[in-house]
């Protein structure tokens, strides 16, 4: 028997013993989110009155798969009514049944809880309060997310939109005004940072925008329109320019 075929067959058998790793990206109403990565969501005013964009985070979490979703931080505790929707990718438990709420008392505990949850094989996403976290903290979370392929969604105040971070993407969530008196809550989501998008031309580029709305009837986040590309070049063109340089 050809030796290369034997080696290939053995490699396949070994790969079968490895736990299935998650790679790629998942499509959401706010654009694709890379698996095994940290994504930041900046919105709201800083200070004691800061409120994370919980509707948007809950709506995006619904489309992330069947695993457990861990909410870390007292501010990141949505009302159970917005978590009753089922996973969009198939039948299964509702987001409320899959959610674990963690009330960490301080910043280091929040970081530890998020990192521990990201390293758990059953977790699909960790949504946490990342207020005042520096680049070292986000780097720890990035490494933890890469180890299992889970997604970390960090909520930050809008005032921290320029803070240094290891996050793969950073989005601004800005409330928008809808049409008519009976309009539903609406937000404009703008991608302000996207790191390492080479290799996949379908990935997003900076300054892409989405407009989403909260549907009270279904408890879901609904995209009002497709992605509005920003003035920046496409990912493929940017990659080509970098290779040429």
């Amino acid at each position: 028997m050809d030796r290369s075929h034997v080696i290939e067959a053995l490699r396949e058998r070994l790969a079968a013993y490895q736990p299935a790793s998650r790679a790629g990206a998942v499509q959401t109403v706010a654009g694709p989110l890379a698996l095994g990565a940290v994504h930041e969501w900046c919105g709201g005013e800083a200070g004691a009155g800061w409120m994370p964009a919980l509707c948007v985070l809950a709506g995006v979490a619904r489309s992330l798969g069947e695993g457990v979703v861990v909410w870390v931080g007292k501010r990141c505790r949505p009302h159970p009514c917005v978590l009753t929707g089922r996973c969009e990718r198939g039948p299964g438990e509702s987001l409320l049944a899959r959610s674990i709420l963690v009330d960490a008392p301080d910043g280091p505990s929040r970081l530890w809880a998020m990192e521990t949850a990201l390293r758990s094989a059953c977790v699909a996403a960790v949504i946490g309060d990342a207020c005042a976290m520096d680049i070292a903290c986000t780097r720890r979370l990035q490494l933890a997310a890469e180890s299992t392929g889970a997604i970390a969604m960090l909520a930050r105040p809008r005032a921290e939109a320029r803070v240094l971070s290891s996050a793969t993407t950073r989005r601004l969530v800005i409330p928008a005004v809808g049409q008519g008196a009976d309009a539903r809550p609406r937000w404009r989501i703008e991608l302000v940072r996207s790191r390492g998008t080479c290799g996949d031309a379908s990935m997003v580029t900076s300054r892409d925008r989405w407009c989403v709305e909260w549907d009270h009837g279904t408890g879901a986040l609904v995209a009002l329109s497709g992605v509005e590309h920003g003035s920046g070049a496409s990912a493929a063109e940017a990659c080509e320019r970098r290779r040429g340089a």
């Binding site: 013993y17 861990v70 009302h79 009753t84 505990s109 809550p185």
Partner: protein, 501 residues
């Protein structure tokens, strides 16, 4: 039966009247499995249909309960453990009896009669109707307990034959079909049976009849299997001398956890709570306790949860002994180890459940059980009480039913409604201006009112802490942020209750 009914109806002080009948489902439908004395005196018998029993008893004077043989068996085991105060050897005689070997125990109670009366009295204080007897053999004690009118105490074996002679054949624990067969030929009592030639009995009625007769009279030995309380799983190590070396203590604890895991494996159970005790020299012991969301005997997981606290323990002048004990256990069957990728859905779900349990254990033991929660929805229309939060360590967690579609609730409900000043152009219209948290907010759109009234049968009072009648509005400011505000109908005050963040 009345004790169970009082417990089910929620109070010891509420007297239960009426005849009680336990109902089981059989091929004939719903039949009487057991009944109280009141029902029995009314003509109800075991095996009778419920309809027939209902016809015999006065209308409205019957309480029907489901027969729960499994629960009764568990209760009998607990009663056997309780009865060890009278004898160290207590066996269960299902479905509703206990056999106690009181050899040598009578002296403690001042005689056999006193022992028997005390046991009966204490059982009656527990709410049980009891009959008992003391005799030289288990068989005869069983017979006298069930077929004597008064508590009987027989001290001498020579009196057994005479005392048993007048009892019916059922007193020998013989099956009903054999009793019927003997009754057909005129053998109705134990005395009649003892008068028959012994050699003919096995051939005619089976070996059981002769065995039961000999066990009752003492001619054959009868043994029982006493109930034994299970000793808690515990492992211990004693050092030759007190040690303050952290590495030695950690290695010892890990070894003890391996030993504990093996003990639990033999019992097919897992630990729900584990205690590690470090006995220090000239100091109070350090006690470290960890709880687990589901039964666990994996030493690696036990150590990962206990390790942070063992590392931080103050060792004082040295640790001389370490013990590890499983405080609470739960059933955990054996599982076939998997070496292939788990493609079976059921196995995958089991794996996800285990991983979820591991995560909850790590988070809860580090941050506190009350800080790791799962949310649910209560069956109420009061917004403050709609969301429920329970510790994730609890196994039973009900999500509850979501509100009806179209009912809008904010993503963030404030801990308590915050007072605000509002200006509304019309009484039943949304406000046009709002002053909240020191900010003036111009409202450019609003929806409402949604009237939420109080649960009049439960709550009274007004104000944010109570639940008076409220008119809720969804209002939007100029920047697009939606707020959930309400006006108290009784006082006219405005409050902000939630935000669609």
């Amino acid at each position: 039966m009345r004790r169970r009914l009082r417990r089910a109806s929620g109070g010891a002080g509420r007297e239960v009247s009426g005849a009680i009948v336990l109902v089981a489902t059989s091929s004939r439908g719903r039949v009487v499995a057991a009944c109280c004395g009141r029902a029995g005196s009314g003509g109800v018998r075991t095996g009778m249909t419920v309809a027939h029993a209902g016809a015999l008893l006065p209308c409205g004077g019957v309480v029907l309960l489901d027969h729960d043989p499994t629960g009764d068996a568990r209760a009998l085991v607990r009663l056997a453990m309780w009865a060890e105060r009278f004898s160290p050897v207590v066996a269960i005689d299902p479905p509703d009896g206990l056999l106690l070997d009181v050899t040598g125990c009578a002296r403690v109670f001042g005689g056999e009669r006193r022992l028997l009366l005390r046991a009966i009295g204490q059982c009656e204080r527990l709410g049980l109707r009891v009959s008992g007897a003391i005799a030289p053999t288990f068989g005869s004690a069983w017979a006298f307990a069930r077929f004597s009118e008064r508590p009987a105490v027989l001290a001498r074996r020579e009196e057994l034959a005479v005392a048993l002679a007048g009892l019916p054949l059922e007193a020998l624990r013989i099956c009903a079909s054999t009793v019927e067969a003997m009754a057909e030929i005129g053998i109705a009592t134990v005395g009649d049976l003892m008068a028959q030639p012994r050699s003919a009995l096995p051939a005619r009625f089976g070996a059981e009849v002769l065995l039961r007769l000999d066990q009752a009279t003492g001619a054959a030995i009868e043994t029982v299997s006493p109930v034994r309380a299970e000793r808690p799983a515990c492992a211990e190590v004693v050092f030759d001398g007190a040690t303050t070396r952290v590495e030695a203590i950690e290695a010892a604890v890990r070894g003890l956890l391996d030993e504990l895991g093996a003990m639990l494996g033999e019992r097919e159970s897992g630990a729900r709570a584990v205690v590690v005790e470090l006995v220090r020299v000239d100091c109070v012991p350090v006690v470290i306790e960890a709880c687990f969301s589901r039964p666990c005997r994996d030493a690696v997981h036990l150590w990962s949860v206990l390790r942070p606290r063992v590392e931080r323990a103050h060792l004082g002048y040295g640790v001389e002994r370490i013990s590890v004990r499983a405080l609470r256990v739960g059933r955990l069957g054996h599982r076939q180890a998997e070496r292939w990728r788990e493609t079976d859905e059921r196995a995958k779900r089991g794996g996800e459940g285990r991983d979820r349990g591991v995560l909850i254990d790590l988070l809860s033991n580090r941050l506190g059980h009350e800080r790791v929660m799962r949310a649910g929805l209560a069956a109420t229309h009061v917004p403050e009480r709609l969301a429920t939060h329970r510790s994730a360590m609890l196994e039973d967690h009900e999500i509850g039913e979501p509100p009806a579609p179209g009912i809008a609730r904010p993503s963030l409900l404030l801990e308590s409604p915050e007072p605000a000043q509002a200006i509304a152009l019309c009484p039943d219209r949304p406000p046009s201006r709002l002053s909240w948290r020191g900010r003036e907010i111009a409202i450019d759109a609003g929806v409402g009112p949604e009237r939420i009234g109080a649960a009049w049968w439960r709550e009274t009072g007004s104000g944010p802490g109570g639940c008076s009648e409220r008119d809720y509005y969804r209002v939007r400011d100029a920047s697009g942020v939606w707020l959930w505000v309400y006006r108290e109908r009784a006082t006219g005050r405005w409050f902000v209750h939630g935000v669609w963040a």
